[in-house]
């Protein structure tokens, strides 16, 4: 029983990180209908921003940790806006495939520039939040896991508020619904899309810091695998749907954890992806997605 509870905890804290990254994928998809494959590398830049900011911002204290988290989120938001401005905006109106391939290009660019700038050798990430370990019976709880969970819940709540209860959020939904109609009623589409990228990339930055906090070895290629899992999570939950992305992240995190803890550990990724295929066979739009009828 205690093993089950411990695995549940492990799975939820891993899933919370996937959920944070998945939210970024899903938001951009919701507005622009394309997968921003560079998202996982923005995630990597987030953890490196925190790595370089940590020595200057009181690493190891709670407030210092929050400051470092903020710096990483702001840095990533800026990066997201720059990527959108120079890589995606010139292609606005072209086919989705063109933008998709550009996104893969941006991803490779970030990875390789990262290898040049940050070095290819894995770095040990500092403990930016004060870490303590609690024993609840035989279940062990690290405060870092709590931080991940708390930050994920807070950011998800904040995102919900922004999207559903602010003017800019209403504009985002309008652009998502029908970009032409939105511009006709006076919405500045470019500004809204920039804002979406800033928000999504900030979430990736937060994900990067939280990931590095729990798994303190960072390198320029670290984004690939969690990025792929988060993408799967977004599709699983129903891409374009915020709550779906969070749910998808949790499902992937839990499945991975429970499979890893059994003799089937070799097949962890195979099983996780088989589940994805299974779910998509029965619910092509994902767990919480609604199937749309494409008008031809």
């Amino acid at each position: 029983m205690s093993e089950f509870l411990q695995q549940l905890l492990n799975g939820v804290s891993l899933g919370a990180i996937y959920a944070l990254i998945a939210l970024g994928y899903t938001m951009v998809y919701g507005v622009l209908r394309f997968i921003n494959f560079a998202h996982s590398d923005v995630f990597m830049v987030g953890s490196f921003a925190a790595f370089y900011a940590a020595p200057h911002l009181g690493s190891g204290t709670f407030l210092g940790g929050l400051a470092i988290l903020t710096v990483a989120m702001v840095a990533c938001a800026l990066l997201g806006v720059v990527i959108e401005r120079f890589a995606y905006r010139p292609l606005r109106g072209r086919s989705t495939l063109t933008v998709l391939i550009t996104a893969i290009g941006v991803s490779l660019l970030l990875q390789n520039v990262g290898q040049k700038v940050f070095g290819v050798t894995p770095r040990a990430f500092p403990a930016v939040f004060p870490a303590r370990i609690f024993h609840l019976g035989s279940v062990v709880l690290n405060t870092n896991q709590l931080v991940v969970f708390a930050v994920a819940v807070v950011l998800l709540g904040a995102l919900h508020l922004v999207v559903h209860h602010t003017r800019v959020g209403t504009a985002m939904r309008a652009v998502s619904f029908n970009a032409t109609a939105a511009s006709l009623v006076g919405i500045d589409n470019d500004r809204i899309i920039s804002f979406t990228f800033a928000l999504g990339s900030a979430l990736a930055g937060a994900g990067g810091v939280l990931y590095a906090l729990n798994y303190p070895s960072i390198d320029p290629l670290m984004g690939t695998l969690p990025g792929l899992k988060a993408f799967v999570a977004a599709v699983l939950g129903g891409i374009g749907n915020l709550a779906g992305a969070a749910l998808g992240g949790l499902v992937i995190g839990l499945v991975e954890t429970f499979v890893s803890g059994t003799r089937l550990s070799t097949y962890r990724d195979a099983i996780a992806f088989a589940i994805l295929i299974g779910i998509l066979l029965f619910r092509p739009a994902g767990l919480m997605g609604r199937a749309r009828v494409e008008k031809v």
Binding site: Q115, V120, T121, P122, S260, T266
Partner: protein, 388 residues
């Protein structure tokens, strides 16, 4: 009918391009493997960056030091060594490309590399097909030299390392029920896990649970939670230091205080950096060399290494050094750099190196003593020597 001028110009351009490509294909410098004058060109492929960078860096420094000394003493056969080094970034697939380049463009006399068995296994068949000898400094998986008679190594192999780890676990650590956590994506880890399990079980030990991870994983809590529930007395982690560091850290966080042990893949200062001092209490690994061993070769090597790089050499550096010395000895003995003669001379390698007497057996492996290292106060500490 006359050909339009643009088409003519285009075909002329095409001809120019083809000619320049052909010109670029011609060997540039370096000479060939059978040259009898000029420098002896040696190609080294190593993981200078990436997840196993510590291995490649150490090994490369040892090799560089050895060739530096050999050249200072006038080289071999009156010819100096010229070392070409290429980085495979610890990535699968890169080594094959680099070695092909060494063979076809640089016409190297011999290839040196790698530490990780998986990457040596990539390069081995290419050298074998070309007949150019390849010497691995520290790949311990037995399959590496099974590729063929052009592949050599100057270190012991995993059947020996696994057996000594099994014996160490039973006799010194006094554990009888262990868990094994190995890396499915690494030939080294899969092999060493098996070579540990067999003698350990044959000797009356019990494997409580055996779980897997994959290179570049960061989260091991799931496996470690299951291991904790199985209640072993020790954990065998035959992986590489980047993942091992995280595994040890997460194991201690989960309250697993039992001994954790593994093989020479642990040897890197990054292990301490990632896992932290406290977590490394009660951890042990086997390797090829310790700088505090007392022999004239070791003393001389440690002193010159420290003078050049201002750090204490580890086993990868010592084996990198010995691999270069083995090559130099063979060239001297063969009296030429012709591949056939060089391979024959290498097969008969027998010299006293930094890591002890290096005498190749029929399988072109070098059985020699191993040492057990533990971590104390943030430093690697020599524990004992185990003879083959």
């Amino acid at each position: 009918m006359s050909v339009p001028a643009t088409a003519k110009r285009r075909s002329f351009l095409a001809f120019l391009m083809a000619a320049s490509v052909l010109a670029a294909c011609k060997p540039t410098g370096g000479g060939s493997a059978t040259a009898t004058t000029g420098p002896i060109v040696v190609g080294e492929f190593a993981s200078l960056t990436g997840s196993e960078a510590a291995f490649g860096q150490s090994s490369h420094k040892g090799t560089e030091l050895a060739f530096g000394k050999l050249n200072q003493a006038g080289g071999v056969l009156g010819r100096p060594f010229q070392l070409l080094t290429e980085d495979n970034q610890s990535k699968a697939g890169e080594s094959a490309t680099l070695v092909k380049k060494f063979l076809s463009r640089d016409h190297v006399v011999a290839v040196l590399g790698e530490v990780a068995s998986g990457r040596s296994l990539e390069a081995g068949p290419i050298c074998q097909a070309a007949g150019i000898p390849m010497i691995s400094p520290s790949s311990t998986n037995p399959k590496v030299t099974e590729v063929g008679d052009a592949v050599f190594r100057v270190c012991f192999t995993d059947p020996f390392q696994g057996r000594l780890l099994a014996e160490f676990a039973r006799k010194t650590l006094k554990v009888h029920r262990v868990a094994i956590l190995s890396d499915t994506a690494s030939a080294y880890s899969v092999g060493l896990a098996q070579f540990f399990r067999e003698p350990f079980v044959a000797g009356g030990g019990e494997v409580a649970i055996e779980l897997k991870y994959a290179s570049r994983d960061k989260d091991f809590k799931a496996q470690l939670t299951a291991i904790k529930a199985a209640g072993p007395e020790g954990i065998c982690v035959p992986g590489y230091y980047t993942e091992v560091g995280l595994i040890i850290k997460q194991a201690r966080e989960l309250g697993l205080t039992i001994p954790i042990f593994g093989g020479d893949g642990w040897e890197a200062p990054q292990l301490i950096e990632i896992a932290g001092n406290d977590a490394l209490k009660n951890t042990f690994y086997s390797t090829h060399f310790s700088p505090i061993q007392d022999s004239p070769q070791v003393r001389e090597f440690v002193a010159s290494f420290q003078a050049k790089y201002h750090e204490v050499p580890d086993a990868m550096a010592a084996l990198g050094y010995d691999s270069a010395v083995a090559l130099a000895e063979a060239v001297k003995k063969a009296g030429s750099t012709e591949p056939d003669k060089l391979r024959a001379a290498l097969a008969a390698t027998d010299f006293v190196g930094v890591t002890g007497r290096t005498k190749l057996n029929a399988q072109r492996d070098a059985p020699k003593a191993a040492v057990i290292i533990t971590v104390e106060d943030g430093k690697f500490k020599f524990l004992q020597t185990i003879e083959p």
